[in-house]
Amino acid sequence: MLKFILRRTLIMIPQLLVLSLIIFLLAKAMPGDAVTSSFMSNPNVTPEQMEKMREKLGLNDSWYVQYGHWVGNAVQGDFGQSFTHKQPVTSLLAGRVGNTLLLSTGILIVTYIIAIPLGIIAGRWTDSWADKLIVTYNYFAFATPLFVFSLLMLFLFSFILGWTPIGGSVDIRIETGSFDYIVSKVKHLILPVMSGALLATFGTIQYLRNDIIDTKLKDFVKTARAKGVPESKVYTRHILRNSLLPIAAFLGYEITGLIAGSIFLEMIFSYPGLGQLFIQSVMGRDFTVVTALVMISGTAAIVGTMLSDIILSIVDPRIRID
């Protein structure tokens, strides 16, 4: 067990190294560099001045020296300066990360609130009208692209019905920290969270439904019934205990999907989080911000997957092959 955890953790190190190398080389491949993007709007800067600036910033060193600097600083939490925002990347991200975390946790919570009961109902009463309805809904959730669905939600609820705000994360006229402030935040969150969660239910519902249907037919469940255990207890004690545990472990695997989702959701609902910042920075060629964002997202996904693997191996010993 301990061996598995240790080995799984060690695999992370080369993964993170390769990730950082890929991102660094990608950033190098992007057109222009830190100097050109910071002086883009200033026609008075001469090529000589730009060259001097490059020398000073170390941009003329060989790539591996630069890579070493970048990784060394990044480990200490220093991702350099944003050129369009004229402030350290770290503080820029700090101002936004809360919103994205709020959005992502919101989506996760709502997803499970919807998916777990529906999955259990569909699995327990297979082929009932409720099951058919849930399967149909799940099929829509699988097939619908997130950005199309979010746009339609925005159009319907914000523009036609006017129930929810059109964009942003909070009404700026409200005083920070007041009760109204929190209400306003929640109001702004509802639509993006619902849009994300309604589609994200797919995997959990399908997993739960299939797993319950499989477990229902296992001999140990039949034995429990034969002993006279009441039907509701068969489910709570015997079936659900087995089927629900792995769901907790899938959390870490969701991170990759959440990152991609937050890009679309934040763009559509003009929600000031990391996803929106990413798109703005790519458009503004603000490479230090872009690399920092990809690096952080990648690290989150790698760590999340590792945690999921480990939790899953504790929950389900069959996975622990070494």
């Binding site: 990608l26 992007m30 199309v148 159009f155 890009i263 679309f264 997202s297």
Partner: protein, 301 residues
């Protein structure tokens, strides 16, 4: 030796073993939703691919500011956009582009994923281990972000470049799927038999192993086709998709990044959004039918 008409015999035996295509057709015919989806999808695609016959392409790209933001009318059934261009025409052209690109990505990623999966599954051992470690890593990458960075860094950006970039991130899952089935399949004796008969490994992979996995591949391809169309339109929507001048369904929807257009000029983006939704649902419905057909075939074999 008995004299017989071999062509006739061959045809007779082919009849006895229903092909996969026939099983799929039987499955779809018996499922009204799938049949409806297939018909609707065929109609949409026919309209999109035949549109150049009755739509003047140059008129479609000509900017006419006196005619911009016109709501639907007899002249322009779905109104016009900011440059006075006909939305319906762009919708058809966009459908064609989006579908072609989605299909190309599916095929390229499919062939690559299939090859990698077959190699990992057929050889097993260290080869499999190395390939799977790499795929595990690639799967956790924030691929949407990396695709976007690629799109802005490629110097001479073309449609083909876009297809390659997206394909490069679309094959992992397929390779993993094929690999796990191939690993199980290679333990069967017909693969050993081929080895003892002196058949080269690549031939065993593609002519012995692959036909036994083909229904799996077809099912997976239909289901990912929808996803790939969604990915292309999504990227185009964000502004990192097809090069300017190549309309996609995503191009029309990207007008909706402006709240004024979302609310007041819905005819520009809403039809495209609904069309994508309908296409995705249709493709998936057909895909589910294909999946059932392949499961049924598995039970028979």
């Amino acid at each position: 030796m008995v004299v017989f008409n071999e062509k006739e015999l061959m045809a007779k035996e082919k009849m006895n073993t229903p092909s996969f295509v026939k099983t799929i057709w039987r499955e779809i015919r018996n499922d009204k939703m799938a049949l409806g989806s297939l018909i609707l999808l065929t109609l949409i695609l026919l309209a999109a691919y035949l549109s150049p016959l009755f739509i003047d392409q140059t008129a479609l790209t000509r900017v006419n500011f006196f005619n911009n933001w016109k709501p639907p009318s007899a002249d322009n059934w779905l109104g016009t956009d900011d440059g006075g261009r006909d939305v319906l025409g762009q919708l058809l052209l966009g459908t064609r582009n989006s579908f072609t690109i989605g299909l190309s990505v599916t095929l390229i990623a499919g062939v690559f994923g299939l090859t990698v999966g077959l190699i990992a599954g057929f050889y097993g051992g260290i080869v499999d281990n190395i390939i799977m470690r790499i795929i595990d890593f690639l799967m956790v990458l924030p691929s949407l972000m990396i695709i976007i960075i690629f799109v802005v860094s490629v110097p001479k950006y073309t449609i083909f470049g876009f297809i390659l970039i997206v394909s490069a991130f679309a094959w992992f899952g397929k390779a993993r799927l094929i690999r796990s089935r191939a690993l199980a399949e290679r333990e069967l004796d017909y693969i050993n038999a081929s080895k003892t008969l002196g058949t080269p490994s690549w031939k065993i992979m593609f002519f012995e192993l692959f036909p036994n996995l083909s229904s799996l591949v077809i099912v997976n391809m239909t289901l990912t086709l929808a996803g790939n169309i969604g990915l292309e339109t999504g990227l185009t929507f964000l502004g990192f998709g097809l090069p300017a001048g190549t309309p996609s369904l995503g191009t029309l929807i990207s007008y909706a990044r402006n709240p004024d257009i979302v609310q007041n000029k819905w005819w520009v983006w809403l039809p495209a959004a609904l069309l994508i939704l309908v296409m995705m649902l249709c493709i998936n419905y057909v895909g589910q039918a294909v999946k059932r057909a392949s499961d049924a075939r598995q039970r028979l074999a």
